[in-house]
């Protein structure tokens, strides 16, 4: 189960939205195969009756009163934006007209 092929790495990189060159793919595939082989050893622990622990704290939803509080001004929020127009973030069009 631990064998990770170059094609699988390319597929997962696509899912993760990371474009890789052939050289990067060759290097990463070999390293990831070794790492996956190592991490797969978690399967050696028989833990069928063990509850999974996703977090060290017992998390509960935190709510607060719905009231107006000080927040960033529009200028402060836009200060680091690459482009802004008329007090709004300006982003390139990514959809066609059709």
């Amino acid at each position: 189960m631990s064998a990770l092929s170059r094609d699988e790495v390319a597929h997962v990189a696509m899912l993760a939205r990371i474009q890789l060159s052939d050289a990067e793919l060759d290097k990463l595939a070999a390293q990831l195969d070794q790492i996956v082989g190592f991490v797969a050893t978690v399967g050696e622990i028989a833990a069928d009756d063990i509850p999974p622990m996703s977090h060290p704290l017992p998390l509960v939803n935190v709510t607060r009163a719905d009231e107006v509080r000080p927040s960033l001004t529009a200028d402060a929020a836009l200060a680091a934006a690459p482009h802004a127009q008329a007090g709004r973030f300006a982003v390139p069009r990514i959809l066609d007209e059709e």
Binding site: L32, V42, G43, H55, P56, V62
Partner: protein, 505 residues
């Protein structure tokens, strides 16, 4: 004239409060020190001389007006670049955030400012805190002040190196799998990871949300306690912040009494397989605690053996989710793919993430995406979460037998820059002793316990305590520190050869 760059934070604070010196003088001395040595160390990514001196002047004016200020008022500090700082560039060591100036402060930064602590600048780190050597920073590595050819540990190597090189008396680090404690061990400094939720994570750029914890990097245990008290405590802005007072860490560091305390040596991480010099120093440190009245018991934590594997599934899984927002659309850099006239959004995202992320980040995002993908989730991520439960149970059983647990912090002293860069598995093994604490959320501290025989480089002694019992770290740490200082005749950093003879020393 006193060189305050050599003083502890507690000494500096006392000198400022008594009028013996001023915050401006102390802050300027550290800025001068940075100007003198940081070209060799590269602990800082950004230095904010103007902002630090303005904050120092405000503290001096407040003291002159007779105001009562906090215990670290006027003491300058450096902050790891993964912590957002209003008006001060924050990049998390990544090209994808190059030049980003946050419009707000992290809660811990708000608390530093309120405590009157001038912020000297932002420290270098592995990109998005992924790494054990600070070689994965997009802005070049930090060098260990003990030997400039060696790594300062990671991911918080910049913070620890700044403290070790006397560029800052205090620094803030973050610890996801040991990134405060492991750099502390290899630079001869003190590093504390508080209980998970003990210091607000609001304003920390997340790596793995269930593991990340900010904490102090210092040169003494008392300084760590004083800083912990400033930054700790509940924060309504962080839903994972513990709603309880900060444990009495300063009192514990001052008391430094281990008589009658049970010290648990973890059988599985007691130095077997570690560098011989580190194992020897660990055994000697345990004996020093016995000499001071502690009782030693051996405890077994069999699930720790799988901790490293579980960690390297859980961390990449959480990281792949947390870093999804750096997609050229919502945050950070935007790069168009080469040779494509009308690229799709997906092509822009993929090209941007390729250009903006370094090798280690790509490795972990792909690993996390793989571990969470259909068909593998149960075998990898689900099973890792069960290992996490077993590790938490091991801790519970061990703390029924002992008040604190101890291990060497890292398996080796600082290795040479580049030595493990192409071997990620070898790099990951550096975190074998520190990771269990993050998986279970318990607090940990590393303090220097000597120089290894084989290379004369610093070794770290790790103390672990039950969740919310952080004061025990400080009580044991301060007791061991006192015993070691008596042996050495002074701070261990005075023995650092790479610092000797540098301008400004």
């Amino acid at each position: 004239m006193t060189d305050y760059t050599r003083s502890t934070a507690a000494e500096i604070a006392a000198a400022i409060a008594s009028g013996e010196t001023t915050s401006v003088a102390v802050t300027q001395a550290h800025l001068d020190r940075i100007a003198s040595v940081d070209s060799a160390v590269h602990a800082f990514l950004e230095v904010d001389a103007e902002g630090a001196l303005a904050a120092a002047r405000a503290v001096d004016d407040a003291f002159a007006a007779g105001q009562s200020l906090g215990p670290l008022a006027g003491v300058p500090i450096a902050v790891k670049d993964v912590v957002v700082t209003k008006g001060l560039t924050t990049t998390a060591g990544s090209k994808i955030l190059q030049g980003w100036v946050p419009p707000y402060d992290a809660t811990l930064v708000t608390r530093l400012r309120a405590a009157g602590m001038p912020i000297l600048g932002k420290t270098n780190m592995d990109e998005f805190a992924m790494g054990s050597s600070t070689e994965h920073s997009a802005y070049g590595p930090t060098h260990n002040p003990w030997d400039l050819e060696r790594i300062p540990g990671g991911s918080g190597g910049g913070s620890s190196a700044a403290v070790a090189a006397f560029e800052a008396p205090l620094a803030i680090g973050t610890d996801t799998g040991g990134s405060i404690r492991q750099p502390a061990a290899v630079t001869g400094t003190v590093g504390t990871k508080p209980t998970y939720g003990g210091v607000s994570r609001y304003g920390l750029i997340a790596l793995a949300s269930s593991l990340d914890q900010a904490g102090p990097c210092t040169r003494s245990v008392l300084d760590a306690a004083l800083l912990h008290a400033v930054i700790g405590g509940h924060d309504v802005m962080d839903s994972t912040s513990i709603d309880a007072p900060v444990p009495p860490v300063v009192e514990a560091a001052t008391r430094a009494d281990v008589s009658g305390m049970k010290i648990g040596v973890i059988k599985e991480i007691s130095g077997e397989g570690f560098q011989p010099g580190i194992k020897k120093l660990f055994d000697q440190s345990v004996q020093l605690l016995v000499d001071r009245g502690a009782e030693v018991v051996e405890v077994s934590c069999p699930s720790f053996e799988k901790g490293l594997a579980a960690y390297y599934l859980i961390l990449p899984s959480e990281a792949s989710s947390n870093l999804a927002k750096f997609d050229a659309m919502r945050y950070g850099l935007r790069v168009g793919p080469e040779g494509v006239d009308s690229p799709s959004a997906e092509q822009v995202m993929a090209a941007t993430r390729d250009a903006g992320f370094g090798d280690e980040v790509k490795r972990r995002i792909i690993l996390g995406t793989y571990a969470l993908s259909a068909g593998y989730y149960d075998a990898y991520y689900g099973q890792a979460q069960k290992v996490r439960t077993l590790i938490a149970r091991d801790f519970e059983r061990a703390f029924e037998q002992a008040d604190v647990l101890v291990t060497p912090t890292a398996p080796t002293t600082a290795f040479k820059l580049g030595e493990k860069l192409d071997d990620p598995m070898a790099m990951y093994l550096n975190d074998v002793a520190t990771i269990p604490a993050n998986l279970a959320g318990v607090p940990g501290m590393s303090l220097p316990n000597g120089l290894a025989d084989e290379d004369g480089l610093p070794s770290g002694f790790q103390i672990l305590a039950p969740a919310a019992k952080d004061e025990r770290l400080y009580e044991v740490g301060a007791a061991l520190e006192a015993a070691l200082l008596a042996q050495w005749g002074g701070p261990i950093l005075d023995k650092a050869p790479a610092l000797a003879g540098k301008a400004g020393m």
